[in-house]
Structures are given as structure tokens and as C-alpha cells.
Amino acid sequence: MQTPKEIGGIQFGLMDPETYRDMSATKVITADTYDDDGYPIDMGLMDPRLGVIDPGLECRTCGQHSGSCNGHFGHIELAAPVIHVGFTKLIRRLLRSTCRECGRLALTEEERDEYRDNLVRAEELGNDPNDVLKSAVRQARKQSYCPHPDCGGVMHEIKHEKPTTYYEVQDVLAGDYSERIAEAMQPDPDDEDDEGTGPAELAEEVGVNVGRIQEIMSGEFRPKSETRKKLEKVLGVDLTEEDMNKLMPSDIRDWFEDIPDEDIEVIGVDPERSRPEWMILTVLPVPPVTARPSITLDNGQRSEDDLTHKLVDIIRINQRFMENREAGAPQLIIEDLWELLQYHVTTFIDNEISGTPPARHRSGRPLKTLSQRLKGKEGRFRGSLSGKRVNFSARTVISPDPTLSLNEVGVPDRVAKEMTQTLNVTERNVDEARQYVANGPEAHPGANYVRRPDGRRLKVTEKNCEELATKVEEGWEVNRHLVDGDIVVFNRQPSLHRMSIMAHEVVVMPYKTFRLNTTVCPPYNADFDGDEMNMHALQNEEARAEARVLMRVQEQMLSPRFGENIIGAIQDHISGTYLLTHENPHFSETQALDLLRATSVDELPAADGEENGGPYWTGRTVFSELLPDDLNLEFTSSAGDTVEIVDGQLVTGTIDEDAVGAFGGEIVDTLTKVYSETRARVFVNEVAALAMRAIMHFGFSLGIDDESIPQAADEMVDEAIGNAYERIEELIDTYETGELESLPGRTVDETLEMKIMQTLGKARDSAGEIAEDHFQEDNPAVIMARSGARGSMLNLTQMAGCVGQQAVRGERINRGYEDRTLSHYEPNDLSAEAHGFVENSYRGGLTPREFFFHAMGGREGLVDTAVRTSKSGYLQRRLINALSELEAQYDGTVRDTSDTIVQFEYGEDGTSPVKVSSNDDNPIDVEGIADRVLDAEFGSEEEKERFLGSREPPTNLSEYAGPGLNKAQGMEVESDD
């Protein structure tokens, strides 16, 4: 069988019953599956012509074995036509909008053409064609007579009883019409003047002869509708009854056969491919056995698929129907059987129709029929096509490893031994391949399977590995274990942006967790409190190359969200660089070398000076060793001082979050954009390593005493809070005497609340300021807050000074009892403490009431985050689904899949956020770019060439083999000894 390589499009339509018969491998007539010997019965549901599932057997239709034969459809000739449940709405639409007499659409030619044009227009403009179709049906349904002059048939109302019954609602002559007429002709007993109506009189008024009236009155003649209406008018009596005339599927089929091709187009059916009568089934296709395989249970009994069970039901009823009809059974029985057949065919297609009891298994479990296989989360589309379980993947807990490069991932050896890469054995790697096989499946770089050129796959076992290794030749394939340097894809859910899936190089390690460099935590939003991540081993050369060039962590250094680096130093790295550079401490030779031991720097620069009888190096000098020699930068640090880097030397300033941090650290950002991703990766790795040595050199810890302030300061805080209490007291007094003036647009109550909140806010701030003033510069919490490593000054003042006002819904706490928050307070107490002001600090400890109010505020925060994450997650999913088809084209426009323009120029400026440098003042740093161009212009000839000539970045090879600044160079030097 040939498989088309590319699907250009899919057209959906109805299928002709003749096509069903043509493609059918056999007609199925018996409901039995297997005979007593266990062989499938011919023309039964398991007929061997429908395909094979048992290995070793040959397909009777195509001659192939199970696995290569996809199976073949059979068919059942239905004894009577039945409605296809999938089309009940369309059937109703057609019944309502076409004339039963002539089959034509109940629209004039002009109307019909107009709707057809509208349909074409709607498709062109990308509007919903359904709107047009619905309005066409609505228009046609309005008619009570066929608008075609040569027909003029009556259009009855159609009643649809779900799921598959249709009625024609007709006005007909009441059964007891003669009695009703006779009664109406009697004189009214309450009215003495009324003499009643005589037959002659009636005949004259209605306009028929007396004989006919006599016949009508005796019930011998049924008046035609016109006469009936006149009689009704004259006598003032109702002679009509509503009659529900059930439309049998065969009636509907006959009706639909009359609908002309030109008319169904307007209803949205393509007459080239589909005829409406095909919505009424006369032939039922029987799915191949491969689509409904039977399973043999442990006890040797066969268990059939749900679809097979359903087909058995259909065939049984079908046979009974035919037998009864041939035997001339009464209409009532035939109709019952017809309905039963309809039920079985309906539930075969969809077993979750509302209003129909689902067909059940003997155990009471509803059967899983065709629709149920496709629908829903576990269905074919969402469960098996959009998302499915994959091979060559692993999942485990993650933990940190600062010795890895940010491009790497530590893979447990037991994972590496399970997941394999295919090695194509060539002349050049045959020895290597044999070694892998010889190591066997248990030893680490070993192999699990080999594949001979004849396609046969052999498992490598401890027993056969030595022998198998000798047989490996060119042209074989060896499934070897993952080894250091292999590229894998790594992912942490939720995958909210493209940096949630990045490619890493494998480093095989002992123990059971995946190991990450801590600098890649921000893009994955990972921490190590039990987070798990997934790894996927890539299975072909193209995928591996793509992952290496496009997906490797260093290529994701810049986030397309804000155009700056998302990878960089975090937490202790930042504290470390701060300690190293803020006060520019001095280091002896031993100390300086120790700081740089984990970097590729192995020679110190010239010493900064001499002290205590030996040379010293400053922290900034040590840090500068990591910078490229031609880097020039000036910016303001998070700590507030100006950082100046001249010719790769940090002249002044503190290196903190704004310099090297993730989320826009200036140096990392500049290195990535101006130098290369590789240079930035080297820098981040080395900064992390240097910072860890630095923070360990100084020692960094935080205890409860670090949040205490002197007694005097504590008293100042108390005083500030006391003052605020007094002011609030005054406010309440003025309020109670009615002298408080309301702010514009506020009530007096609101004004009071606002003023109290303001006063308390100020009290908290001044308490914070007092606390802040009394902290030492080397306080670890202060260092973390200033440098941006972790925490804020607010956190610190809450620990040391005063926690402050607790709020629920942005107001002071007002809920609880009637007119008060807790029974500890008098009703209508407006004071600060009665409404959730916490005057203590976390370190000092909260009173029970403060603690309670604090818990109220904290609870709101937790609920908020919980609600927000689920809401925003769903919002983001919908946004992504809506935007996922948009694509930036080569002409710079952004278009959707139907080529409709969404943006005439990508982002209106046609630039990628990760390709332009920017600063706070300018979205695009034009000056910076121009400066660099000019520098190049007036620099030396070589420099000019380097900037003006096209600069091809080196291909991203492994860290161990790549050109330029990478580990390989350092390792070469080391390998001398």
C-alpha cells in the first residue's frame, strides 16, 4: 500500500450506499462470530475477508499478514432504511425548507440565488456560513405553500421528536365531524329567537347542494378542506383536528430523492459529493475486525469488542424484521421492529444520545461505540492524536548541581541505560559500536539492541553480548545507551512559554535525580521542593541537529517576552557577587585563586597592591577576570551606585541583580546581544561558580538576631505607633461629633476609613524607616534586599518594626460579629486594633487577636493566588489556541492560515525583541548601535573588517568540542600535565 507523503486537504461528505457495497469485502448476514471449533464463520462478523488479527494467518482479501493488512470493510443490507443520528439536524432543516410535493426549496428563484451568493461571500470574508444557511432555512420555513407556481403544494409543519422521529403536523377533519355539525345546527336553548339552522339554509350559505349537506350530516361524505372551512365559518364550530403523521425513514428518503442539486447547494450541501438521501442509511458498513479486535481471556474464552456486540444486535433485528415482513406480520409489529432497528443503528453510531437509554453490556456498563471512541479527553483526537504517551522519555525529581554547565543536565545512570540512541555502524565507528555491544545492557555505556542489515532486531543480553559484539559490522544499527554529550530535550510543566522546553547535553551521573544548574531555574520556573521534570531522547539526526542549534539552553538566553535575558544569576549568586564587589575587599593570592578555582581562569592578573607583606587583589579585579577584554558598560546597580566597566575592567560599582541577574541583568544581556550566546553562557556559568566561592569565603547566614533592633529603636517605633493611635482617636472624636468633613465624592464614613488607613500606613512606614536606620550595612537580610537576591526592605521592616494593617478586600477588617470584628471589642469600636492593625513585629510576636486578623488577611492571599492561577491558566490557553496559527511571513506580514493579514509589519516595526538591544529610555537603543558602528568605522583595519564583513557565528557544537571560549580550550591546557 502506498502512503501519500503530504495531505493537501481533507474533504468531508456523505457516502453513496453504492460505494459502501463496492468497497465491501463481504456482505455480513449472520450474527454468529465463530463456529464450535473456534473458526470464524463465513459472512459472519469475524469473516476472514474483513482482515486478520491473529498472527500467522493470511488475509483472505489482500493476502497480507496481520500487522500489514489494515483490514477491510464489510456491509449489512438493512431490511428497511434508518436515519443516521449524526445528521438529524440537517434532515430536519431539509424537511422544513423543502416542498414535499415537488422536492424543491421553498424559495423563489431570486431568493435562492441571493442566498447562494451570500454563502459565497461569507466564505470569502471568513464569516460563518452557518448564519447564511440558517437564515435561508428560516425564510423557506415561513411559507405555508410551495412558492413554485407549477406546484403550490402545502408545506406542513415538521415536528422533530429527538433523536430520530419526525412528524408532519396536518390539520384534518375531526373524526366526529357529523355530530359536531348536527349540534351546531340545533337552536340555542338559552336564546328563544334562535331557530337553529336548517340543511337547506346551510347549503345555500356554504354554496353546495342540499344532498351533499345531507350526506355530510350522515357521515357518508367527508367535506374537503375548503367546504370544511366554510362550514366552520357559517356554523361557528371547530371541525379540525391536528394530526401527527409520522414520517418513516423510507418516506423521508423518497422526499429527499426529489430535491434538485441546485437547491441543496443553498442549504450548504455540495451536490457533487453528497446527496441528502444518503443521510438515510440503507446499507450499513461493517468496520474491519482490526478496528474491533476480540481478546482471548486467560480462561481461553473470547471477549468481543463493544462494536462487535452492537453489530450482532443489528444483524439479529435485521433478520427478524425481514422474517416478519415476509410472513406478512401486522403493520404494528413491523413498526416496532423498525424502531428497534433504528435504536440499534443509532446507538452503534453514538451511545450517549440524550433521551435514548444507552445500550448496555451484560454487566450494566454502557457500550463504547463509534462516537465514544472519538469524543472527549480520552478520545482519538485529544487522547491519541494531539497528545499521546511517547517512548524514549523519562521523568524524575530534579535537584541542583552547581558544577554543571547551564547547557547540561545530569541524567541518572539507570535512565541513561534505558534510553538509547541509534548508532549507524560505519567504517569509522565499528570498533566503538562493538565496544558498546560488548559492554552489554547492564554496564554503562552499553547497548540494548542491535539491528542487522536484514532488518532483524536482536536484544543484547548479558549472555550474548560478547559474541554479538564480534558480529557487528558496517551497516548494522546499535541502540547504545545515552552518554555524556548526547543532546536531549528537557521540559517542566506547565509549558507556558518556549523556554519551558529546552535542549540539554547529557552528563551521566549516579543516583536517581535529574541534576540542573541553578541558573536555568527561572525559564523553567523550577525549584527543588519536589519538582519533577521530563526528558526526551531524540531519535534522528535531524532532530538532534535542530535541538542543538535552535533549542539548546544558551540559545534561549533571551526571552522573547521582554527581549532581555531570562537566564542569569539568582539568589546566592547575587549575594555572592555583591559581597565580592560592594566594598571591594582585598584577597591574598591563595584566596583569589580559590575564588577563581571553579572558572577557566587559572592565572591571576597583576596585583592591585601590597599589604601585610604580600600582594593583594580586589574583589572587582577578580570579577573582571570573567569579562571580555573589550567590554565597556555603564549603568546603575540595584544597590543604587553607578557601575562602570572600562575595557573589561570593573572600575567601580556593585555587581548585583541589575548586572548579572536573570530577568534583564545588564552584563548578561549585553554579552548575549553584542558578543554571542556562547560567550554569555560561559559568563553565566563562571559568575555562578565565582559567586558560590565568594559567598562561601565570607560566610552568609541569617538568624533571628539579624532582625532585632536596639531597645532605643524599639521605643521609637512604639512612640510612632502611639502617635498614630492618638491621631486616630482624634479623628474618631471629630467623626462622632459630626464635625468630620467628607472628601469630595466620599461619604463621611468612607472619609474616616480612608484617613485611618492613611495614618496607619504612615505609622507602619515610619516604624520601617526607624528599623531600617538601625540595621548594619552588613546585615544579611539587608544585603539580600539591596542586591535583589531575595526579599525586600518591606519584609525586613515587618520582621523588625511593625507588621501593619491587615486587609480583606482592600479594606480594614470589618467582618465577623454584628458591628464588631470579634467579641473582645465593644460594638462600633472604630479603633485601629479592633480592625486588624498589627502593631507588633514578626520577631516580637503577634498577640492572639493580631494573629487571628493576620490569618484572615493571609487566607485571602492564598485564595486569590489559587483562583488567579487557574483563571489565568485557562485564559492563557485560550489565547495561545487563538493565536497559534498566526505566522510571520517572509514579506514581513503576520497572517493566519487563510492568508488574512493580521499585522502589516510584524510588531509594526518588523523587529524581533531578542535581536534588538534596548534600554529604559529607548525601546530600541539606536544610539548604542550607532556608537558601535562608528567605533568599528574608525577602529583599526582589522576591526573594521570584523564588523563590516559578515560575521558568521560558529556552529553550535558540543561544549566539549566547540570553537572559541569554551571548556574544551581550558581542558586542553589542563591535559598537559
Binding site: 470574508l125 509594526e908 516595526d909
Partner: protein, 76 residues
């Protein structure tokens, strides 16, 4: 009645009444009229003379470039 087209936040909408200009725009972006973004005739920002089928040129302020030009097809 407030004329919103005079509001400072409403960018300038002009009808491309020269068929050559329309062709120019369509060929520049290699699109058919129906693949342009849409604007309904009832949109109050449109000039009164705009009719379905017209192409509108909108010149507006942009966060990334100072001025951005986009085109829209007037539909019912």
C-alpha cells in the same frame, strides 16, 4: 452627536478612492481584498462616504514605530 473621528485617540481613517492606489496596496502585500483585515460600515470612525468594498487606510501612532499604516476592507 459626538463625532468620534475627531477624538484624539481615534486614528485617521481615509478611503482609498483611487483604484490604482488600492491595486498598489493589494499587489504590495500580494493579497486579495478579502484577505485584508475588516471594518464594518457602521464603525463610527469611518468617513461618511465609505461603503462596503472600499479599502480604508488607517495611519496611527505606534508603540514601536512612530506611525504605522494599516489597511482595512469595509464590510457590511
Amino acid at each position: 452627536m459626538v463625532d468620534v473621528s475627531q477624538h484624539k485617540l481615534v486614528p485617521e481613517h481615509t478611503v482609498l478612492d483611487d483604484p490604482d492606489r488600492v491595486d498598489e496596496v493589494l499587489s504590495e502585500y500580494n493579497v486579495s481584498k478579502t484577505n485584508l483585515p475588516k471594518i464594518t460600515v457602521s464603525d463610527p470612525a469611518l468617513p461618511d462616504k465609505a461603503e462596503p468594498g472600499d479599502v480604508i487606510e488607517i495611519t496611527r501612532d505606534s508603540r514601536t514605530t512612530d506611525r504605522a499604516t494599516v489597511y482595512r476592507l469595509v464590510v457590511e
